[in-house]
Symmetry: none
Subunit: 240 residues, 4 copies
């Protein structure tokens, strides 16, 4: 309509524009419900261009996947790379991860394809089921700490946090088990217990882990000018 500057644009630029819009649409709708028509229209070009540059819907989605995965990985690596202790580097990486997904919802949704791809009713049912599991686990967690630590009354928030860790870990370990056929559910469960049981109390008690002591590397996990992961904070500077 008001197209005046939709001039001839070099391929690389166009490609990025297309992918930009595709990430938006795929995140909003999910893979199958997303239509190439909509993406092309949003990008301000015609469909044949999309096919010329990205080959197919699948190719387009793969391009999104690759670009976004690389950006997230880069954010993590940039933060984790450095001189600090491994402990510090892990922390920095995690911080960067959380900062990145906070800033780039669409990117994360496309990579993880949570929500969407399904109608609202279905999405809601899935969320409901997951919430029920969380509540169950959180209750168990609260009981555990209450009995073990006496008067400590863990807040709902902390218990919920622990529940998310446990459930997320369990989800993920399901994949791990698949590649370790010898492992039994029992052993996996014990390992997970081993890993989280001690630390759980700290969290429920409201403690916050502190970087042990930055001996003489003042910047710790630094990410000076990460162009796409803007705010990986150094230890003290905590952004809103």
């Amino acid at each position: 309509m008001s197209d005046k500057r939709r001039r001839r644009v070099p391929r690389q630029v166009r490609e990025q524009q297309i992918i930009d819009m595709a990430v938006q649409v795929f995140a909003k709708r999910g893979y199958h419900p997303a239509s190439v028509d909509e993406i092309a229209e949003l990008a301000g070009i015609s469909k044949p261009m999309v096919y010329l540059y990205l080959d197919s819907k699948e190719g387009l989605f793969l391009a999104c996947l690759r670009r976004e995965a690389e950006r997230l990985a880069t954010a993590f690596q940039k933060a984790a790379r450095g001189v600090g202790s491994p402990e510090m580097r892990l922390w920095a990486g995690l911080s960067a991860f959380f900062a990145y997904v906070t800033e780039h919802r669409d990117s994360w949704v496309v990579l993880h394809r949570q929500t969407s791809e399904l109608s609202e009713a279905i999405t809601e049912e899935v969320a409901r089921a997951r919430r029920a599991v969380m509540a169950e686990v959180a209750g168990l967690v609260r009981d555990g700490i209450a009995e073990a630590a006496g008067p400590v009354r863990p807040g709902d928030e902390e218990a919920d946090f622990v529940a998310h860790v446990l459930v997320g870990a369990a989800d993920s370990l399901t994949d791990w088990m698949e590649r370790h056929p010898g492992e039994t559910p029992d052993r996996v469960a014990r390992r997970l217990m081993n890993m989280v049981w001690v630390g759980m109390r700290n969290v429920l008690g409201g403690e916050l882990w502190e970087p042990p002591e930055p001996p003489h590397a003042p910047e710790g996990p630094e990410a000076p000018d990460a162009p796409h992961a803007p705010d990986v904070p150094g230890p003290p500077s905590v952004e809103g």
Copy 2:
């Protein structure tokens, strides 16, 4: 085709048969690529029956979701409910969870809708990206323990396990963050560190958590007759 004995079957039975097949197909293909045609054919009936009983494709999927979610939840609860200490109960619940998803892959896939819903190429790309992340984290983990624990050389398996826990937890905490807007990535990362840093070493050292002391309930987490979650093991009985 082969069976001519497709006789009149009461509604409740047919409904379960349909859902049985639907879970299979949805797990294999994902929601959108799955076709009601295929489900009906597998169930040995015609499409209109599916619509008569389950209303729509979405209704069918919701029915799958509800039934499978309830079965999984029941398996967990049955195991976790009991007299033992919370610690024991959590362990029992986790064991039951892993046992259940081991036995019922389709159920878990439908509930989690990981793979599928996307073409093979895309699924593979997603898996690749996730593997890359895992490897990165596992490396960090290995470094950490190597430096901290001196001569201990953690096996790849253990490091990979820890990485799965961390990545799964991070995934899940992304949802948690969404409902706690005040939280900063920095604080979330610290909490996670707090929870796992200590226990991580145990795992990497190859330790296996042991039920503290079963005072006078010698069988630990028992699930005597779980109808659908067959093998929630007591500590010693480990199934293949």
Copy 3:
């Protein structure tokens, strides 16, 4: 649900019950969109009964058509039959017709299949088109009388009435023409002019035709106890 008296019912009664409901549903939805399912459910029986008694959807509709057409015809005939002059009898018949269709909307709709059968949007478009034609004709009519009768300002209502007569007559004559291939549009138009041009002025002037002189037949068009066409009024008794 609260079926207590849905006992064995003799065929003739059941048939009428079915037709009763069918008239309702066909009137509301139109022939094709109406579903036998809905009719059966409303009638409180199962579908096979409908087929047993009325053979098919078409048979069911034909039964509706016949019964309702007969009722309307009966109402007309009962009123028009009698001792009065033909003028009076025609008037009585028309009165009975208008009374009947006023009382039995569904019946009329099924017979005339106006509205319905089409989605709301389409119905509305049809109505719009018809209104436009009416307005055009009414304007012409108003102009005609204004010029011809000097100061008489016909009300909108009267002009609209005349327009309806003209348009309805034209619609109907379209069928008539089909069976008189020799007739030209020109001759048909002249005939119609001939028939309405004089009387038009009376109507526009607000005059009301009066039964010439009811000599000594005090009841005029009577319909003493018409069971289904309750209110064919004698000349003076005008119901609300």
Copy 4:
């Protein structure tokens, strides 16, 4: 099939081609029984084109409705507009109407959606019922004139004509009544009597209305070059 020259055709042209065929099919079959498949095939294109240009079956039908309604209205207006007296203009309009519907049966059927939409058996039943009503009314009419006018024996044709006018008018007035809730069937009947009783005798007597006197516009209602309503005749020129 036969024509290989199905070349790229600009949108506006294709749209009209599609609507052309749709009018045919809708007229032949009625709205619901008509299938988009058939329309597309007749138009020599594939179904998706129909949906691309007209959005939906309903949209397609609406497009037919609008175009045909406008053409008919235009034919009427073009003829009725002019210098003659209102009487003449009304006559000219009616002439044009009858000429148009004579030439464009499909157009009229779609607009009026009489026949069709129903199976042949049902259509026939409807026609039968209507014929019965017509016969009844025609009988009344013949009686009336016979008694009132003495030796005049109105032909069947004339009585049938009058009956069509009366029945068509009554149909149409049913709608009018709906928008005038205060009116009673009695008053409506009187009005209709008022309007037609006098003119009826003229028609039954075989008289033909003559344009009063075309003062100095000798050709009466002319429509010199109506592109789509070819034969709106001036008084003398009567086409076959």
